[in-house]
């Protein structure tokens, strides 16, 4: 069973392009007889109390009809006002008896003149009908017609559009995605009302049947990239796609790498910026997290604010983040190697004061560092999972207990507490949560290497990391490009962010079809 591409909603029309699935040999087709049809649907989902069957007669005629829908998923007002009312009352005045016998005419007539709902599909396969009912559509069955009308009445409670919590900015739009795919799609459309913005719809999960949108810019995005993404999406083979993380784990390149190879974001502006760079976005129904692919390491340290601010502060803040990333990974390990191996590299007076503070600490520096770093990770995790007011208390109490009492008890040295605090704070300066986790994990590896081999070990670890990152690719794009392979043009938006005026072209690494950003008089 594979996720299948259903239709292109590019122009907003609802054309049914679904190909009949050959493997569904079991599936039965809709018959002329309304009773058998209803029986068929009842057999499948009739045992559920939330499925409502409502039979009625078309106007004054004796023609039987029925609607089936799931309570709670549909807009009841719409059904009552636009479907039932028009079918039962309005129909009789215009409709003449002799037309009843002509079934084809009846069908067209119902479609064109009676149902005042914008989203109408005709369906012949019961499987599709049932799926549609379960996703909130209303099925309209009419006697003597061998198709079932699927009326788009889906309406359920969604969260309003709020400020994204995980990626808050000082300057920038305050809108974030929510759980409704329709809302998210609208956010993108509103931000980029360009005909080139293309959304392909997929259905994810044999059972969850989540709608997924593959979004790209026609005429900008490289078709090869699109091919890769499509192929990988079609390989998705789980019955459940709860969150975009499920998709991410199926489509990523290297499952053993610590680095995220797909970026997840709650921010529509981020997605739009990525799209115009020639990247591809994936939106899944039911989650506010959109995926962006391919990504590079530098994207993990970028914030939309870099672009909203003027370029000098933007560049400096970005530089600061690179610095913070380095601190996160390497400072505890450098500390361990200085304390245990290379005491000569510390300035004499500092060495003496460190030695004095470490006097009486029972553990070697590696154990001390691992202990403290683990403690701070536990604190972080505990503060994250608990309800917000309690979480803050945990952070406060934990920080005080570990920071003060542990030093006073002589279990750890005060300098170690400073080091741990600096690394923890630096790791929070990384704008992408998943990238922050990756760097925090690497820190432990670096510390163990430092504990065994000293600075030599730290350098070995760095080399290993560099090798891995050079090898890593995200959807065909090298992870640390534009550093390697070296592309000078893309350095304009790498460690520094050059003025927008200078960035006339899209990133070279994306191999876009149309690489000009500024089409003006320049």
């Amino acid at each position: 069973m594979k996720g299948s591409q259903k239709n292109s909603t590019n122009k907003g029309e609802n054309t049914n392009k679904t190909e009949e699935k050959p493997q569904q040999a079991k599936s039965q087709h809709v018959t002329d007889d309304i009773h058998t049809n209803i029986e068929q649907i009842k057999q499948n989902i009739g045992h559920n109390t939330d499925v409502i069957f409502r039979s009625f007669q078309l106007g004054t005629t004796k023609l039987k009809a029925a609607i089936v829908y799931v309570d709670g998923l549909v807009d009841k007002d719409l059904i009552q006002d636009q479907i039932l009312k028009s079918m039962i009352y309005d129909l009789s005045s215009i409709y003449s008896e002799e037309q009843l016998s002509d079934h084809d005419h009846l069908k067209d007539w119902v479609n064109n003149n009676v149902i005042s709902v914008s989203d109408v599909k005709e369906e012949k396969s019961f499987d599709n009908v049932i799926t549609s009912i379960l996703t909130g559509s209303t099925a309209l069955l009419i006697d003597n017609i061998n198709t079932i009308f699927i009326l788009g009445t889906t309406s359920y409670k969604t969260r309003s559009i709020e400020e994204p919590i995980t990626e808050s900015l000082v300057r920038g739009p305050r809108e974030g995605f929510n759980e409704s795919l329709a809302d998210n799609r609208a956010l993108l459309r509103r931000g980029l009302p360009d005909p080139a913005l293309t959304m392909l719809e997929y259905e994810m999960g044999v059972r969850s049947k989540k709608k997924l949108l593959l979004v790209y810019m026609e005429g900008i995005t490289n078709p090869d990239l699109l091919m890769i993404v499509k192929k990988r999406l079609e390989k998705f083979d789980l019955d459940l796609a709860l969150e975009s993380g499920y998709i991410e784990q199926f489509i990523q390149d290297d499952h053993f790498s610590l680095f995220p190879q797909v970026q997840s974001t709650e921010r529509p502006d981020r997605v739009i910026a990525a799209l115009t760079e020639g990247r591809v976005a994936i939106l899944l129904d039911g989650t506010p997290f959109a995926l962006i692919a391919p990504v590079t390491f530098s994207m993990m340290l970028q914030s939309p604010e870099d672009y909203y601010e003027r370029w000098i502060p933007g560049s400096l803040i970005r530089l600061l983040r690179y610095f913070a990333a380095f601190i996160t990974v390497f400072v505890p390990s450098i500390y361990v190697s200085f304390i245990s191996f290379h005491q000569g590299l510390i300035p004499t007076k500092l060495a003496i004061s460190i030695a004095a503070t470490r006097e009486g600490v029972p553990f070697p520096s590696l154990i001390e560092a691992l202990l403290m770093e683990t403690a701070i990770e536990v604190l972080r995790e505990a503060g994250l999972r608990l309800p917000r007011p309690v979480g803050q208390t945990v952070g406060l109490v934990g920080g005080l207990v570990v920071g003060e009492a542990a030093v006073k008890a002589g279990i750890v040295s005060p300098i170690m507490v400073i080091i741990v605090a600096i690394t923890a704070i630096s790791s929070f300066a990384i704008p992408q949560y998943s990238a922050g986790i990756a760097l925090r994990m690497l820190r432990f590896g670096a510390m163990i290497c430092a504990g065994i081999w000293g600075l030599y070990g730290v350098i070995l670890f760095f080399l290993l990391l560099a090798i891995h990152m050079c090898k890593l690719k995200s959807f065909g794009v090298p992870y640390i490009s534009p550093a390697a392979p070296y592309r000078l043009r893309d350095w304009k938006d790498f460690i520094f962010r050059f003025p927008l005026l200078i960035m006339k072209k899209r990133p070279q690494m994306m191999r876009t079809l149309d690489d000009k950003r500024q089409k003006g008089n320049s």
Partner: protein, 390 residues
């Protein structure tokens, strides 16, 4: 899957089999910051062979204990350092013997200062004494060398927080006084000794637990032995002669009134020009200095008048001339050429230098040296007064 099994195996090897090579936590080290080398007194080296040349080595290391309670801190400053002494014939032998007596291993990378006692420097080749210190990679080339008048061990016992740090800190004060030589590091000393050149080491004097940097030890090249000391004024003269003075005061007397005139050195430039006439060598030294008038005790002195400034300059030049004369007399007496005359001669007359370098020191002692000093008072700071009209 096999791949990962190997990976896990390798990680396990690294974690459990390697241990932590060379790992010593910082608090478990005996961090040496200063070393004093003395001639062992005959009583302490009784049992040793070659007791005549035995060395007494004293190291200063940092005592790692923090005051445990607050009352400790309040009562009295605990001693932060500990001095350990040992006697032996070689440096490394003595240092190794410390490992038998101390709980923590010796650690030399933070060694900042080596003080050599007068008696030892007079009887033994300094190159040999410092051989271990300059050879080992554990000790930095930036370690500073001093010579103590009297006992070197006493200099590590002066009443300061950590005596070794006091020593190196004082040795950095050239910008405040011209009576200090530029710091001589082990690296520089070794290169001088390798070139068989005479050199000069800052000397120190300890009296009742107080230190004074008022000496300079003259070391004869080749034998690398101490031959004599310069006093403060002679050091100042030497600094002028070499153009190394970076700061400090020259105390002149106003020729008219006899009042004190203090000239603060801002910069000194020197130019040594050698002349060769047959076998007759002579030198001409030109010294130019810029400074400022810092203090004058001349009541009638008016800093706004150029006449007075001129007088002040002359007074300064006179004083400098006197100091240089004194220095040169002593250098020529000891036949020690540390002011760089040989270097200038070598540059100007390379062929003759080859012939003369063997007995240069002897020649140097007879060479006539003329010197011209020119001082300029660039400013007189923020004070001046009208000359009292008579």
């Amino acid at each position: 899957m096999y791949r990962f099994r190997y990976l896990i195996l390798i990680i396990c090897f690294c974690l459990f089999l390697t241990g932590c090579w060379d790992s010593h936590d910082i608090e478990q080290l005996n961090i040496h910051v200063g070393t004093a080398l003395d001639k062992a007194s005959s009583s302490t080296s009784n049992g040793k062979q070659q007791s005549k040349n035995a060395i007494k080595l004293t190291t200063q290391s940092i005592f790692n204990t923090q005051p445990t309670t607050e009352s400790d801190q309040a009562n009295q400053e605990p001693q932060k350092y500990i001095n350990i002494s040992g006697v032996g014939n070689s440096i490394i032998e003595i240092v190794q013997s410390f490992s038998q007596e101390n709980e923590h291993p010796s650690y030399g990378q933070h060694l900042k200062v080596i003080v050599i006692g007068e008696a030892l420097a007079k009887t033994m080749n300094i190159g040999e004494i410092l051989d271990q210190h300059s050879r080992t990679y554990e000790i930095r080339d930036s370690c500073i060398l001093l010579v103590a008048e009297g006992s070197a061990a006493d200099t590590l016992n002066i009443h300061t927080d950590i005596p070794s740090f006091t020593l190196i800190d004082i040795d950095q004060h050239q910008y405040k006084t011209a009576k200090l030589l530029p710091p001589l590091t082990i690296g520089k000393a070794v290169s001088k000794m390798a070139a068989h050149k005479d050199f000069i080491i800052q000397g120190v004097q300890t009296k009742k637990g107080k230190i004074n940097f008022n000496r300079a030890a003259l070391i004869k090249g080749g034998t690398n032995r101490l031959v004599g000391f310069l006093n403060e004024e002679e050091i100042e003269g030497l600094n002028w002669l070499m153009g190394k003075a970076k700061g400090g005061i020259i105390k002149g007397r106003d020729p008219k009134t006899g009042g004190l005139i203090m000239y603060e050195i801002v910069s000194v430039k020197n130019k040594i020009t050698p002349y060769l006439n047959g076998d007759h060598i002579s030198f001409d030294v030109n010294i130019e200095s810029v400074g400022r008038l810092n203090e004058d005790w001349v009541l009638a002195g008016n800093a706004f008048s150029n006449k007075f400034i001129k007088r002040a300059e002359i007074a300064t030049e006179k004083e400098v001339r006197r100091q240089i004369h004194q220095t040169l007399t002593k250098l020529q007496k000891y036949q020690i050429d540390v002011a760089g005359f040989n270097e200038q001669f070598r540059i100007h007359y390379p062929k003759e230098w080859k012939r003369m370098k063997k007995d240069w020191d002897k020649r140097f002692s007879h060479v006539p040296i003329t010197y011209h000093i020119h001082t300029t008072i660039r400013d007189y700071m923020v004070k001046g007064r009208k000359e009292i009209s008579k």
